[in-house]
Symmetry: C3
């Protein structure tokens, strides 16, 4: 939700912590009195554009719009229609954005929402793009926790189930890390948190990963290969003895605030064998560490949580559903410009964005799920330059990390290794980057030094 | 529509005759002035949850909600979505019931609406569950008859077409029987009214079945194997001569008030050969007995009624469609608590429900179409105990009749035949019932008397 | 939009030029102030009944209804439902017309909208029936041109792409011809304007076809087999020399007002090989003749127009989408009787309809796409008699031209050639027409003269 004229919600990274809290205050207002807000969006139209089916996300947004007094138009199966005729995502948004006043988009490709936001004449709300982001689900999870725990700072949140493909887990972990949470991973074997997520938690949010032992996890999760991602880096080996560290870890695990359960999404598995996990039942929840743990689940559940838990006050998964509506009302009211966020900025936490590199020749994003892989005809690849030495870029559409090895100057026809003395002297605005020697040659560049290529 | 806080419409059996008439008075009000009611449900949301497609039923409910000033959210193809991910019906309702204020459910399994009503936080309206009930269609049929005949008591209603699979026929027959109608069955050969429906008409509503002869049916239906189900039991063989009975029957058939036509639902046939029936055309309707017969049809029609009938004043099938909207408006207004029924209770006709048996071990409903066959994980089978000797139960979900043969006491580990002297002494609250010897043994019970098993 | 009580929009032929301009004035009003009209259709319901999918047309109508303050009900995939159970189109409309206050119909068969309008109790708007008509798209195209060119009379409009199957091209060409436009055809090879369209432009609208030469088309379209259809007949060979004609043609081509681009609809091709066309890019548009040419496209586009054109002020294809909503609002407001057209009739241009022939025996429409081919059970074929000698009829449903060869008098049992002296004496009200000798014989007629048959 940028400060520009058109307000989109593409990524949770676009929101500061204070803006998130402002949004939650707005959600409280939406939940407090249905009649007070039922004319707020009168005469306005939401279009739901779903390239992947998701009945519950779609219904939740549509219900939110209806409760604001607006209307909606539904496209629950976009793949069957114009896309099948070969229309670009940009064109579809330029059409649909003439019918509705806001578009909610679900798309299987990473970065699709960013492209949509660029071409749509009306605000875009990302309802899930590929495995990357589902920011409104993350906001609902956070809101449920914030209201039931009466705080967001310094919680201990355990995740169990599929931590590999479950995009709600990744987004929520990043968001919680921003609020200083300890994150406990209790994955099904084979569905551990991916390395790039762990790495980002370390580099971007200052978390510290600690492998957990059966002794740490004593109880139902004893056999799980657990991982603790601490808030901050409190366990420097040089300051603590092993015994001191172990005991500090166990203190942190002694009181879990939230147990976030996910189902194994069989439709996304590609034949991997995955291990079993304990079913979350009342016996498991009677462990002391879960005494005050909210049980959350993004639903649908299959058998991960026993039905007997449903009536326990710690079971909050249907509460998540219920609170999803006011949270989405708040989001819609905000992007439609019907309500502004009251933001008490504790400190200006928004980091400056790294410089942008537009790749009109040479490098393109190598991630097969990236939206630029299918919509390249009209999109110029763009990357954020995180570092020059070693050269590290992040795709501006899908956030994929790229470490290209070859660069050139726009004013010459020869290319160099990224780490050569010559490369360092090329100013960013003259830089041309290549993912491979072949790519450089195809673009009409010659190697500056054949020996470099053979290294 | 129980007197409890949450009002559901699961079965027409839940309504007394006086309540039905109260509902019809409300429907009159809905039909009288569209503008007067167009803000009644303002701000409220209907969710249509259809696990089987039915465009016309869905549109009719949605139109009703719109005319009340409310909104709707549509799930016309539920099987494609969450159910495919393995979600239970209970969970789906607990989710969807957080978006909408009332849920209209169509489901292929019998008893699904009862399960939904139990778990949904908002009222459920049954829009057809399996072959069992479609109470709103029955109410529309009754309303059409009531308004055109200016009464519901003591009518003669003939059914023709598919009386075997047509669920609208079964429901309407029961409802008419409650109002004292004579029911004339004129089925396609092979699609006769099922035995269990005839039997329920006899036992529950006091009807008396009489096979009709070609002489009784003289005319277009001469070759039909007709059956008359009389209101009450007026033809006791000991009181009347054969000739007297025949002539009384013919008097009853001389004036048909309603001819209810159904199409042969080929999509539900399982390869049976079925006979032909006369097409309902103006020639057929010129028979004296049909002089004042309303022609009804639940639609869609194929060729059962000739197009030339459409303009005849007796043709009321499009009137049924038209009146469906105010009837459904009345139902929605009632279950949403926007309107109360004005009930002039002639006599307290609601029968006491038979005692309930919760089968936490042993017996489960043997009907393959019962909702408990697929949703058993969280549902305990329940049965109404109609009789102890012989033991006759009715599934509390799908109404299937069960006659189990083995029982035990909760305090022993041996089981007995239901008709043994020992069985009779077991108090209902201690009773355990088994559908088979195997089931009893699997539950850890031993036969009290091996000889009983071999009988 | 007839003067009768119920207002339908089946064909653009139903509107006079003055009525079209009245509709455009109404569209201006709709576009001017969204709040001023947002309660106009309050409490009214639009039903979209789509037997062919078309997300954008459906969304555009639904958005129009919502902006008028009304509601909609969507049937985006009608083929999956009642039609599959064998219901007639007439019955479906008689049902759906009891739920909604206006029905928007898209159907694959030609003439379907006319049948629907006859049986529906509420107004029908044709959203495309087969390859015949899509009058609202034509009105949107005309409106876009009228507002950007500030006139509709005497324009030069070039069509490129698929002129064979693109129904928007045919309808728009007829409409433009009524306003005195020169029409330039620049088709892909193999996808030329069909002969019957060229012929109707000649006979009904007085156009004159001129084949274009490479010299006429010098530039990007040089290799195209172009055709000019002039407004009126200015080039009579007897009045002009060849050189004079050529130069007059080139003057007409020097200033193209509109370049209407269509995509090759691969889904409608039946294996034909089709030629390539130049992509519309900025280089092509820099040709002097296109200096002030609006670029229109009914969308979706694939690659016909380069993305670089999107930001050029001549690109109006997204403007078409945007203006589609107020045009459809105007249409809905009119057929719903919420607004009347202010018509300044310059001259009574509505032509008298030719006499109607109801074919209760004998002739039926031979077009395989005609709605009467599938719905014959209840429809009597009807034809407009354009001429008696030679006998030329036009199907009153699908507009197909028929030239039958055999006729009879209702009072005799013999039939004659249409051009025999006897035939000429039969009064139209006694005429029976046959498409073939066999058809006549099957109807029980004998040849008056065997020699005629063998001719």
């Amino acid at each position: 939700m940028s400060a520009t004229r058109k307000r989109d919600l593409v990524s949770i990274d676009d929101l500061t912590n204070a803006e998130i809290e402002g949004l939650f205050t707005l959600a409280d207002e939406m939940a407090a009195d249905r009649k007070a807000v039922r004319d707020l969006a009168r005469g306005l139209i939401l279009v739901t554009l779903f390239y992947e089916p998701s009945t519950r996300t779609r219904l939740s947004f549509e219900a939110a719009m209806l409760r604001l007094g607006g209307s909606y138009q539904s496209c629950p199966n976009m793949d069957d229609t114009s896309a099948a005729k070969g229309e670009s995502l940009a064109d579809t948004l330029r059409v649909v954005g003439r019918y509705g006043d806001v578009v909610v988009l679900r798309h299987p490709r990473e970065g699709a929402s960013r492209v949509a936001a660029r071409y749509s004449p009306v605000p875009i709300v990302n309802a899930g793009d590929g495995g990357r982001e589902h920011p409104t689900q993350t906001l609902i999870d956070l809101y449920t926790i914030a209201r039931d725990k009466r705080k967001l700072d310094g919680l201990c949140v355990a995740f169990t189930g599929d931590l590999r493909y479950g995009r709600t887990v990744h987004s929520l972990a990043y968001a919680l890390a921003r609020f200083g949470a300890d994150i406990v991973c209790l994955p099904a074997k084979g569905l551990e948190l991916p390395h790039h997520v762990v790495r980002r938690l370390e580099t971007d949010f200052g978390c510290f990963p600690v492998k957990l032992t059966p002794a740490d996890l004593k109880g139902a999760f004893e056999k799980t290969e657990g991982l603790l991602l601490t808030a901050g880096r409190p366990f420097q080996p040089d300051l603590f003895s092993n015994a001191e560290r172990r005991s500090a870890i166990q203190r942190r695990l002694a009181h879990v605030d939230v147990l976030y359960v996910t189902r194994v999404q069989k439709e996304r598995l590609k034949g991997e064998a995955v291990g079993d996990l304990p079913v979350i039942d009342l016996a498991l929840l009677s462990e002391n560490r879960f005494r005050n743990a909210l049980v959350l689940h993004p639903l649908p559940r299959v058998n991960e949580i026993a039905c007997e838990v449903d009536d326990d006050p710690r079971a909050r998964y249907f509460t998540q559903v219920e609170r999803g509506v006011p949270v989405r009302m708040a989001i819609l009211a905000h992007v439609l410009g019907l309500k502004d966020l009251v933001v008490v900025e504790k400190s200006a936490k928004r980091r400056a964005a790294p410089p942008l590199y537009r790749s009109d020749v040479g490098l393109h994003c190598p991630s097969p799920g990236c939206i630029t892989a299918t919509e390249l005809g009209y999109l110029t690849p763009e990357f954020h330059v995180l570092e020059r030495r070693p050269l590290r870029l992040r795709c501006a559409f899908c956030d994929f990390l790229v470490e290209p090895r070859w660069v050139a100057s726009r004013h010459e026809r020869v290319f160099h290794r990224f780490d050569s003395p010559h490369s360092a002297k090329i100013h960013l605005e003259n830089l041309v980057i290549f993912g491979s020697v072949d790519e450089a040659k195809r673009a009409g560049f010659e190697p500056a030094d054949l020996a470099e290529i053979e290294r």
